[in-house]
């Protein structure tokens, strides 16, 4: 690893430089704008959506796109546009919950610890990672979601009964906890390994050696010197991670293990409209907008995150093309 490059960038207000480089890439800017719009519309779904997401209108069911309903209505006469917005909100929350807990908090901190302290702790964490990564991801996630959910829901119900707090379950909070847990094994190890590798290469550099020689404490070195240097790779990996988590949430919801109705999610919309896949051909032929609306959004999310990730890789790592 070329350490000089990092130290140079570091001494030169790295963010300005990276941002400048990033903004020069048209595709990256375009994806950022699209992502901003998508995430913004998800976050502000409650303001933007023209109807409540549960509101049914049995007089106008299965209508095509119109001025009143941009993407038409579903079988219950619910506005598909509204449901897509709320579905995006679910994705927004899930991607951040999944990423924050799994990759960022757990992955980064373990990676820092492992890379910096090395030795036994490092070995332990690495073995732990090898164990979790030895399971087939998707099977483990489905299994975790299926076995965890009833336990967590029971637990939450207990809390609700004892403390009188209500809405723990109905607000969908529990769903996010379950999904966050289920996504953990998927996300943390990759990030941890990445951070560990970066820390290893930075920590052994002359530049840290000299800091150590000057008597700077370990923690301080970690926070002040190591961390900023590995920020780039973390951001890149997190960007790709957001796309992957979005895709996984769709699969989880598709099998009914994600958020629970009536809260909309893109995966649930796809699952419902395709009858768990078995009616996918029929719906595509007869009411394509009902399937395409959620699918295009999912596709855009994954597409843009990847595009952005690519651009960021270029920006942070000038060697790669």
């Amino acid at each position: 690893m070329d350490n000089n490059k990092y130290s140079k960038v570091n001494s030169n207000s790295p963010f300005k430089i990276t941002l400048n480089k990033l903004f020069k890439k048209k595709l990256a800017v375009a994806s950022m704008i699209i992502l901003l719009i998508l995430y913004g519309s998800g976050i502000f779904a409650s303001f933007l959506s023209p109807y409540p997401y549960t509101e049914t209108d049995l007089v106008n069911t299965q209508e095509g796109p119109s001025k009143e309903h941009f993407f038409g209505t579903d079988r219950l006469g619910r506005d598909i546009f509204t449901r897509v917005l709320w579905g995006i909100q679910t994705t927004v929350i899930v991607t951040f919950v999944g990423l924050l807990t799994g990759s960022l908090i757990l992955g980064v901190s373990l990676g820092l610890i492992s890379g910096y302290f090395q030795g036994k702790i490092d070995a332990l964490i690495m073995r732990l990672g090898e164990i979790t990564s030895a399971f087939p991801d998707i099977l483990l996630i489905i299994l975790l979601a299926a076995t965890l959910r009833p336990r967590i829901v029971d637990f939450a119900r207990d809390i609700e009964e004892k403390t009188g707090i209500s809405g723990l379950i109905s607000s969908g909070f529990i769903d996010y906890v379950v999904i966050g847990f289920a996504l953990l094994p998927l996300s943390w190890f990759g990030m941890m390994r990445l951070v560990r590798g970066q820390v290893l290469s930075v920590a052994n550099s002359e530049y840290i050696e000299s800091a150590k020689a000057m008597g700077v404490s370990r923690t301080r070195i970690l926070i002040k010197h190591v961390f900023p240097n590995i920020l780039g790779p973390i951001i890149v990996s997190a960007t790709f991670g957001l796309g992957a988590v979005a895709g996984t949430e769709i699969i989880l919801s598709f099998f009914g293990l994600g958020v629970q109705p009536p809260r909309p999610s893109l995966g649930i919309m796809i699952s419902d409209v395709t009858g768990r896949g078995s009616a996918s051909v029929s719906v595509l032929k007869n009411h394509p907008e009902q399937l395409l609306a959620p699918i295009i959004v999912v596709w855009l999310l994954i597409f843009c995150w990847n595009l952005l990730g690519d651009a960021l890789t270029d920006v942070f790592n000038p060697r790669s093309r």
């Binding site: 049914t56 109905s170 293990l257």
Partner: protein, 569 residues
Amino acid sequence: MIMNFKKIIIKYFLIISLVGTLISCGSDTDIVTPDLNSSEETSNQEKNIAPGLMTEKKSDDSGDKNRGGVLKRLWADPATLDPHLVTDTTSAGLVVELFSGLVSLNSDLEIVPELAESWNISDDGKVYTFKLKENILFSDGTPITASDFKWSLERAAHPDTESPVASIYLEDIVGSMEVIDGDGSITDISGIKVIDDNTLQLTIDAPKAYFLAKLTYPTAYVVKKENVEQGGDNWTDSPVGTGPFILSEYSIGEVLVIRRNDNYWGEKAKLDGVEFNLAGGVAMAMYENDEIDITGVGLADLERVKDVNDPLNNDLVSVPPSFTVTYIGFNVNEPPFDDLKFRLALNYAVDKQLIASQVYSGLVKPAYGILPPNFPGFSLDITGIGYDPDKAVQLLAESKYADSSNRPPIIVTVPGTGGSPSLDMEVVSDMWDRILGVQVEIQQVEWATYLQDLHRRRLQVWGGSGWQADYPDPQDFIDILFHSNSTNNHGNYTNQEADKLLEDARTEQDVYKRISLYNQAEQLIIDDAPWLPMWFDQEGLALIKPWVKGFNFTPMIVPKMKDVYIDKS
């Protein structure tokens, strides 16, 4: 039996649908298959047809034109092929083709002799004497005698068989419960007597009019002792049966093939065989591509197949409704459902007609009572609770829980593992909210957990499931679901007056009086609103290839493949 409404919904969404829609079992164990299963598919093509079928087909071509062929259907993996263990429609649809009993139901749902030639009922209505047909054979060519029946019934009842339904179908026979509840040491049921090789006598504890109907259920079918004993746990891998077909090939999750039983007592099956594809897939596309011969029509395709310009329109047939009632159940011990007015308010606030026509495109019929139309005992004189928003609001205001602050939270539990719980539940909760301001939380749990909780009466409100007829008798609905002591009374409903009527009806010999007792009980129950009845099954739609002849859709599972044949000329 309880059935998963999702199953019904899925049926409309396309899939197995016609996979034998009815029969049902006396227990709520059925259909533990997850919904995934219902997206059954095919693996079609000649390769999967047993070699035997191919050769037979050739020899048949020379003969009668109205014979032969292999029917291809989409199916799900049967939970079991052991007739004594059958509880679900998927298994039953196969078992009735492979095995048979003393009596059976025909396509008109009349009880007809099967292996029995005739029977006598004693004057007190307690002793049934069956005369078996002459020279009837198992599929391996060995003769069937009355002792085979005695052995089979006793096997079904024996605790080691672990039949979940023996206690429901055989309980009436004197001495059966001692065996069923015993520790395995008692094997003899005193009420079953072999008079001679051709005569079997069954004695029941009280003159129950529905006893014969219960015998049409696979629990009372005959199996071959040597076959069962030698095959051990896996005897159904090569079962010896008495039905019009025999099992030719079965690989789980892939394909199940049955072929003609040449030792069948009656007219031999016309079809060479039936190939049930178990691997799932996109049913509609498979049908269009000639990979399966029959498919249900899902909501997504309804408009298309109804269009006369669409080529599929020519294949469209209607499917008679199954005897099913779907409902939202209330646990009357749990507040706020302990208040009749509150229950009534919820009932009056739901516009079922609108949901039926708009959400289900007319594939279901709004239910205002308990017994499905055309079911024995169904009466038009029953007055149900219709849609009346003003009355609903007024009733809520009069109820103990008019004030939302002292109303306990309401959690509606529905079965399922994915997607929307059920279309109607979402609309209903929206209607409750809009008309009454009553907000509910919908909780979705796996089917198995759902059944468990239901059985332990832990659910406050539950939806998404229904009750399907086990045998054509009103007792199967009203008594089993609402008698105070019934294990299937999941909402703790009690009404002593209704109990009395139901008990009287059990042994009432006069058909008209009996029906009238049931009608009175049904009316009492409806007025108490322990349920919000939702749907009866309505005529459905199916597509069937023009070369499939003689296939009848029936509202209950009955043996029907033997009259079918393929004519591609």
